[in-house]
């Protein structure tokens, strides 16, 4: 191109802006503007064919699983004969594991309700939209804040002897502080240094949910006692 256009249309990256966002940028003043030229493809056949192939892959994988692994079926339901332990489906075993540490109203109602509410409000909480790398600003204030919150969480869950939450909380806090001066470190620490606060919180939640579900599924036997997977009542 010999002559530059006087203005370039570009997308704003402000996450709070409205969807149809247009910014007028003078290229002579802002040379770093990226060109947002992209290659577009026709949905048919490019996307549709991929969707069909994806469906076939899923169907074949499930078909193989259905050939080699049988769905569980126990004896007919008997209200008089309680199995020990009686387990919910695997995706609820994290909750059932919580029931071991907390009163039912906390584990069965309060905590799941909080999780659902927290998930729903994610896109409406300003912090989730604007958050930059955690340590990029106010590092001192944030260090104190995160330290205090960690101590409070650890104290709270220790009071209920809920170690499957306490231990991951300490690990995640350690990772957060390891990321503090991470920008100057190796690849992994540089990556950690870019993680935002909402992402740390989500990671914390996912790690705990996974650990609780694994313990509930594979390490709980009669009377909800700790056992090895071989002795745990693992159901499909």
């Amino acid at each position: 191109m010999s002559t530059q256009p006087p203005i370039v249309l570009s997308e704003s990256s402000d996450p709070l802006a409205l969807p149809r966002r247009v910014a007028l940028v003078r290229p002579d003043l802002r040379p770093a503007v990226r060109q947002l030229e992209e290659r577009w493809l026709m949905t048919f056949p490019h996307l549709i064919v991929r969707e069909v192939i994806l469906f076939q892959i899923v169907l074949i994988a499930l078909g193989l699983a259905a050939i080699f692994f049988d769905a569980p079926l126990q004896g007919i339901a008997n209200p008089l004969e309680t199995p020990n332990p009686a387990k919910a489906p695997w995706y609820f075993l994290g909750l059932q594991e919580l029931l071991h540490y907390f009163p039912p109203v906390v584990a069965g109602v309060l905590m799941p309700a909080l999780v659902v509410i927290a998930l729903v409000v994610i896109p409406y909480a300003r912090v989730n939209l604007t958050a930059g790398p955690l340590w990029a600003s106010h590092p001192r204030r944030k260090a104190i804040g995160i330290g205090v919150v960690t101590v409070l969480l650890v104290a709270l869950f220790s009071a209920f002897a809920c170690w499957p939450i306490v231990v991951p909380t300490l690990f995640v806090a350690a990772a957060i502080f390891a990321a503090r001066k991470g920008a100057a470190g190796g690849r992994l620490r540089r990556r950690l240094a870019r993680v935002t606060l909402p992402e740390w919180i989500m990671t914390w939640f996912v790690v705990i949910a996974t650990i609780l579900t694994i313990i509930g599924t594979f390490f709980r036997g009669p009377g909800w006692s700790l056992v090895w997977p071989a002795d745990a009542a693992v159901f499909g």
Partner: protein, 256 residues
């Protein structure tokens, strides 16, 4: 059948007045016809006519929403077939499981397929949610579609949970008993909600019928409605969003 005789026949069929009255787009491979295939079709028009090339990359979405939808399709098909053999009554429900496993042709395969597809659907829906979060794809204009997605996740969990009771074996009975006992603990409304759900104070034949209706009618309809909105809004919001730009090139992310 040789290829030579088939091709003109198919072509003539596709040019016939009847075929053209059903399928309105032409047969030639032009971009106009490729567009018409999408927006003249009530099912395909949840998609845009064109998509960005990079949105088709594997790492853009890991196809997790697609896997979840594929599971939903498999579950609908196998589920309808299973309904032909199932009576939501005690003890016939359990006997039907035995019939499926030992009498019905490929009955065990059908039931296995339904079971494993259900497990995969819960798992992939959860992974899909995490993918969207870490790619920051919930940001405007996609806020509400994130909420629709959470509703879909809950509907998926409820579908799986209501289906869990239907075999009426010990696993089903006690799994559901444990879960509904938790619901009882909710302040004020817990007891009533549980009664409404079970049609009684314990898991019984009434509960089986209610779970059956929820599993086969109400929840699938809810899933269909919310899933349609979900995919439609993906199109309206400019297609699937993969890793946000500051994630893809963090160094040059702050140019604007």
């Amino acid at each position: 059948m040789s290829d030579i005789s088939m091709k003109p026949l198919l072509l003539r069929l596709r040019d016939s007045a009847v075929y053209r009255s059903i399928v309105r787009h032409g047969v030639t491979d032009t971009n106009l016809n490729r567009s018409l295939i999408i927006f003249e079709n009530v099912f395909l028009h949840v998609h845009p006519v064109k998509v960005r090339e990079r949105t088709l990359r594997f790492t853009h979405t890991y196809w997790l929403g697609g896997i979840t939808t594929a599971c939903a399709l498999v579950l609908t098909m196998t589920g309808v077939l299973l309904m032909f053999y199932y009576h939501p009554s005690v003890p016939q429900a359990y006997k039907d499981m035995k019939e499926l496993n030992f009498v019905v042709e490929d009955g065990a395969f059908l039931r296995n397929l339904h079971r494993w597809a259900a497990q995969l659907m819960v798992f992939s829906a959860f992974l899909h949610m995490l993918r969207v979060f870490y790619h920051r794809a919930f940001r405007p204009p996609r806020q509400f579609n994130w909420v629709v997605g959470i509703v879909l996740l809950l509907v998926t969990l409820l579908l799986s949970y209501t289906g869990y009771l239907l075999p009426w074996d010990q696993l089903a009975f006690w799994g559901v008993s444990v879960g509904t006992n938790m619901a009882k603990e909710a302040p004020l409304v817990g007891e009533q909600v549980r009664f409404l759900l079970l049609g009684g104070h314990v898991v019984s034949e009434n509960a089986l019928l209610r779970f059956y209706v929820l599993h086969c009618v109400l929840l699938p309809v809810a899933l269909l409605i919310f899933l349609s909105v979900h995919i439609w809004r993906v199109r309206k919001d400019g297609g699937v969003q993969g890793p946000s730009e500051e994630l893809e090139s963090p160094e040059s992310g702050e140019v604007l």
